[in-house]
Symmetry: C2
Subunit: 449 residues, 2 copies
């Protein structure tokens, strides 16, 4: 029997019949492979404003320039340059160029909470198509600690991921994970869930920690408004987050060399209220950020309500900047959010649910523990990097509590997410997003795997 694994290794090395990721997204991936230098970039100074015009309402990918090659040094690359290659309705596709590499958008960022994408080596994360990963400030400040991380050379060297890393501000997790969190105008005082030690997170300390970690995209320190919230609570929380956004901007800009090579994103709040979201957006644009996140969603409001908010919230953000929907989400959440103009996503779902035996397929998620898979010789997906192994084998591993089960399911799910993003990018570039999204939903939400 010829071993499918060997075929996969050949494909990974470019020796076999076409790469998995390239298939089905020929225009975009081909352009990227040739070192496409897009023409609609927004170069940013040290303190950007939110008022750049968006000149990127084109469908076609620009003519590729000669490849800059892999040898281009970090210092030759822009600090932060977002270019939109094509739009389709409110959706956009393009890329963010940064010192440590390019981020193709719409992008999904695998979550690497504690300086590791759980169960994967960095080379594997990269191999399935991730351009950027996310690190969690709250976890890393407690263990190994921000100052220790700096002494160890920063998060990139520590975990051996040499491409961009986005770090959250710690604001969300300190409220959800720590003990006895007390919020004040200054920030949040809390006790570690690990050892009960006392800590304080402020906008200034969050910026310092993210600098010590060596983050490429730093998130402003904010309060993720709980759901549901009274209008009064939503308003006061948003207003404090905007004051913290200004303090974050100042503290980030005081970061010296780090500020000159990293980017800072602001976070829109305002709960489910259109006018609060608008005021938040205006406040953020007035401060000026490299990118803008939509915060305070995916907190239990449900997909319909989230989409209702995105319908007005996204267009409020500066069009020439990347828009990042934090903590989202399920594959169908992502498709709907891309249709509404979102460029970046992160979520623990593919990794966490993979460890629990949930696998994503184009026909919807499956629970590999189900007895019907015990003798299923088919791969979970014929294009998946884990296609050499059968569903029966995955079933056996996960049922047996074997580490390899969690490893393979994680790899598959992250591949599925990256493949979905590649398909979305191709569909936008080719002006067929509506048809792609409709076909995706019909199969993913209607079919049974």
């Amino acid at each position: 029997m010829p071993f499918r694994q060997a075929q996969w290794l050949l494909r990974m090395n470019g020796l076999g019949k076409g790469s998995g990721l390239g298939k089905g997204s020929g225009v975009e991936e081909g352009a990227l492979a040739r070192g496409d230098s897009r023409t609609s970039g927004f170069s940013t100074g040290s303190k950007p404003t939110g008022s750049e015009p968006c000149s990127a309402n084109r469908r076609s990918v620009s003519t590729p320039a000669p490849s800059p090659g892999m040898g281009r040094g970090m210092s030759d690359r822009p600090r932060f340059e977002f270019s939109v290659a094509a739009t389709d309705g409110r959706a956009r596709t393009g890329a963010i160029a940064m010192r440590r590499g390019e981020i193709r958008t719409p992008a999904f960022m695998p979550v690497g909470t504690a300086a590791t994408v759980k169960g994967m080596k960095p080379a594997g994360v990269r191999a399935i198509g991730a351009d950027i990963i996310l690190g969690n400030t709250y976890h890393l400040m407690l263990r190994p600690g921000a100052e220790r991380m700096e002494r160890l050379g920063g998060l990139h060297g520590f975990m051996q991921w040499d491409r961009p890393i986005l770090t959250d501000s710690g604001g969300y997790q300190v409220m959800s994970l720590s003990e006895l969190a007390k919020i004040s105008e200054d920030g949040v005082a809390f006790k570690s869930h690990l050892d009960g030690s006392r800590h304080m997170l402020t906008p200034e300390r969050s910026m310092e920690i993210q600098r010590l970690l060596g983050s490429d995209i730093v998130m402003a320190f904010d309060e993720c408004t709980p759901f549901p919230a009274t209008r009064e609570r939503a308003e006061s929380s948003m207003e404090r987050s905007m004051r913290w956004a200004a303090r974050s901007r100042d503290a980030f800009d005081a970061g010296g060399g780090h500020a000159a090579s990293a980017a800072l994103f602001g976070i829109q709040q305002g709960s489910m209220e259109e006018d609060l979201r608008r005021r938040s957006s205006e406040a953020l644009a007035g401060i000026g950020f490299d990118g803008y996140a939509v915060g305070g969603l995916a907190v239990g409001e449900g997909q319909a309500e989230m989409f209702r908010v995105l319908d007005f919230a996204v267009d409020m953000l500066p069009a020439g900047r990347p828009r990042y929907l934090m903590g989202v989400g399920k594959p169908d959440d992502i498709v709907g959010a891309v249709e509404r103009g979102i460029d970046m996503f992160d979520c623990v779902l593919p990794t966490r649910s993979g460890r629990n035996g949930q696998g994503f397929t184009w026909d919807g998620p499956i629970n590999i523990r189900n007895a019907k898979f015990a003798e299923d010789m088919a791969p979970i997906d014929p294009e998946s990097p884990i296609a050499p192994w059968s569903r029966a084998y995955l079933h056996h591993l996960v049922k047996s509590g074997e580490m390899l089960g969690a490893m393979l399911m994680t790899e598959h799910n992250l591949w599925f997410y990256q493949r979905l993003m590649a398909e979305l990018r191709a569909a936008i570039a080719e002006g067929r997003l509506a048809g792609f999204a409709e076909a995706f939903r019909a199969r993913y939400c209607g079919g049974k795997a």
Copy 2:
């Protein structure tokens, strides 16, 4: 900073400065790389005897023949051919040629209990130099089940390992892991530790299960005599194991196509008694096996007692056949056993202790959880495949309970074991085993990492 990981990948692809495994073992590895066809092979018929002469008391590696290439099909390869390329004292180095590939000896077999080497993909196990892995009959017969495994195409396809697999007989684990095991002349009746279901293992059923799994090297069904044992118990246990060995031989030979492509090993018992070991060896040689294992050691007797037994037990076994010391052991156990003529080993130590944070180094084992490693920027070993990551990172991962910590420590430890085997093979081939072993012990057992 240039990333060490990239350098490692280059080395693995043969594009960098020399391969890790080849270093320090140039003669042997070089010969293997050229497809050395050894001249002192023992071709075996369907039922070998133990009386072949050993014509391999040479120091030099034979002149390499033209490479047979990797494309040689399974059916063109010998069923089982053990060739000794060189001896040094009682130690030997050579290779076992089988349908699914060559096993360089002395060999260490990583343990893949439940159809997975815990925490590693098969490609990784192969990349660090393993020629063969071990599967556990007891675990696999319970989950996923032997008949199911056959329906799924056998263990090789199931787990995607295309090289030789040795399976134990289940005799040892049924006594140590199952509930209510009752031994009789027929075999062992027991209840599964997983679900309490009732099962029976006999020599005939063990051979059938190992055939259904598609094992390449099948172990005879025996009783691992407990330690300590009275002389009477040791004698009666050994005698029953010899009757079971004959029944195993008959049942294996009735296995049709499987018997024509796989090998069967007998297992010497006799506890710590020289005369019992001799009678056991004579009984096994009379039956005739492809290889011979030393059983009933590494059961709590200690290294000195184990070496005392090996001093007389190994030479009793047919010299022209591989000798396998089951369940051993620590690196210094292996060095001492190789000096006493052992060719094959298996042990859970590198994998199990790796998951617990123990890492092997030439200066002895270290516990990566120790606080002194929290800011240690050095790799665990500069030649290790996990050298891109610092001891500080491993410390962080293991302390944090991260899966990647167990994965990296496992990979390192299995690499360490394979590297030790490669060094032993090179030392034997070059006639300098005594010096190598002395230097190894001085550093490994005397040094503090």
